[in-house]
Symmetry: C2
Subunit: 216 residues, 2 copies
């Protein structure tokens, strides 16, 4: 199965491309914004597509035309303005969902935020709420799309080394989780069709990721 990783140059994305390249059943195509980001992925033996998420749906669809699954793990990041929140986290995400349809790629894994419900929007601090709104509508768009989606809602992301110990369910208590573990959760989701049309929160816990995904 060939997987287009959108946001491959992000921290989760880099872990994920490595994990995919190490797995016999999977191969990665890294979607990145700038040509100069390509070497890291080429060195891993991954395919590369240079596409800007603020560009046309057709360009994203072209990058997806030879893959079997799409993972969206792009994010505008904490250091950009709210204009990028709307252009990347919302509209960029929606364009990749539309691109999946155009390219007939049914399998789609979305890395969302811990809680993107209406309640979470209303309770978020003013500075964070626009991000939650953006992720809320992207998730809603995906749920309404006729795709084999999985929506992953990670807890507070850390750069700790992955521990392969998580708690994973529709609702879990708020907590931290290493980005490296989230990459592994994505990998196991791709390998297990039981995650299709499901969404779940993940934090660090007491199950291996393989077991947690299987008992979902």
């Amino acid at each position: 199965m060939k997987v287009l990783v959108i946001g491959a140059n992000g921290q989760i994305g880099k872990h994920l491309v490595k994990l995919i390249q190490d797995n016999d059943k999977l191969e990665a195509k890294a979607m990145i914004r700038k040509e100069e980001q390509a070497d890291f992925f080429k060195d891993l033996g991954a395919d590369v597509a240079v596409v800007n998420l603020e560009g046309e749906i057709d360009d994203i669809a072209k990058a997806a035309d030879d893959v079997d699954a799409i993972v969206f793990t792009a994010g505008s990041g904490p250091n950009t303005g709210k204009d990028k929140t709307i252009m990347v986290d919302l509209d960029g995400a929606v364009k990749t969902i539309e691109a999946a349809k155009h390219a007939n790629v049914k399998r789609y894994v979305m890395i969302s935020s811990y809680d993107t419900t209406r309640e979470a929007i209303q309770e978020s601090p003013e500075s964070f709420a626009p991000y939650v709104v953006a992720k809320h509508y992207a998730d809603e768009w995906l749920r309404a799309a006729d795709l084999d989606y999985t929506i992953i809602h990670p807890g507070m992301l850390t750069n700790d080394t992955g521990k392969n110990q998580v708690e994973l369910a529709e609702k879990v208590e708020r907590g931290e989780v290493p980005r490296e573990d989230i990459a592994q959760v994505i990998l196991e989701s791709l390998l297990n069709d039981s995650t299709i049309k499901k969404e779940f929160q993940v934090v660090s816990g007491n199950s291996t990721i393989e077991d947690a995904i299987k008992s979902l």
Copy 2:
């Protein structure tokens, strides 16, 4: 017919409440953000509800519980940050659509932007695109809602006195149009059920607003 005007304190909103109060068939309920904005509307004999669009859907639904139609003409304005574009122009609008459903108000008139299509997003200058994105998703949400909607896409708004001379169709050439004329277009839309489930662009032209709406 009682009409909840959301964004009543805006320039179009003020014209609209006046026009509604002058019409025998209609009465206005002005939804405003601050109590100190109320006198203008009370002096016109209009009802008033003080509700923040960044608040809960239930509060908006409560304001809508005694009305027969909702007009959304709120906007974050050109002087606020892109966070307000997300929170008001997108999420605020969607919350009023949800509030209409909660309050069983079927009739809903949305004041959108001149062009909120995917093509318009891609062609917009970087500083304007986030606004187009916000209006795009608000319009999409309304089209998907089971409401008797009308979506009005005005040209470049001016503060000129209304001329009651417009061109109005699904697609019209880009042009200016006075806010006072848009208020009249909203009024005629409320009075003509032939505008239900329709959307149109409006600029200044050669037909009276009454004729333009009737020949839609």
